[in-house]
Point group: C2
Chain length 136, copies 2
């Protein structure tokens, strides 16, 4: 954390080696960190998933987003079954080193339900409403 | 979860009572769910924080965003010390009922470091760079 705390008050343009920052990231007790995926041009928030250190490094090395599936307990190369890949445009890390923001270019729908993104349930007063149709 | 699974394939416009959906939300073992805050007009992702059932209900009831602070283990009415409030414009729930998206109107900087949002650390090749200046 020390390096990430130091960056909280550092001037714009200050840089640190990636390796040192990755070492200081705040993975949880399961070794995971939440990653928010946002479509880089529309700025729509697509989904939230989790990464471990290995999936994070693979994502940076390949430019194709790889998460860690908590249900399957293994690397999850987004789109490996659906073809709905995410290409990484930019990765950002938050102030406390405990969340990632992925600016991505999403191929096809981001959500496994075939909605364009996962946030199709809208809270309206005392109801929750489905807001986007699934494709055929 | 059954109600949330049913909504995954429901047509656009389908509604369920809020209370039933809240009961089915997938809070983690600590009783928390991650909430992504996004500025409603610029669509900038501001931060990720956590809510428990009580903070979620308070947020919906008051229209002012309240999180649960994991470090302080208590309700955290965003801006209660800094004055940097978040007004809730819209709340969305994801496909699996395990993440919230809050469209908010942020007063002042969202980040406790006084950056406009928490994602000011940019990964560039093998470096991490501070991208936004703190105000004076």
């Amino acid at each position: 954390m020390a390096i990430i705390e130091a960056l909280q008050t550092a001037p714009t343009g200050t840089s640190k080696p990636l390796e040192d920052v990755l070492e200081a990231l705040n993975f949880n007790e399961a070794g995971l960190i939440p990653a928010v995926a946002q479509q880089y041009d529309s700025k729509d928030v697509l989904m939230l998933a989790w990464m471990n250190r290995e999936s994070l490094e693979e994502t940076l090395n390949t430019g194709r987003v790889c998460y860690f599936s908590r249900s399957r307990q293994k690397l999850w190369r987004k789109g490996e079954e659906s073809g709905h890949l995410q290409h990484l445009v930019e990765m950002r890390i938050d102030c406390d080193g405990d969340t990632l923001l992925l600016l991505v270019d999403q191929t096809g729908p981001a959500c496994h339900t075939n909605h364009p993104n996962c946030f199709y349930l809208l809270v309206e007063g005392r109801k929750v409403t489905v807001t986007a149709a699934s494709p055929d």
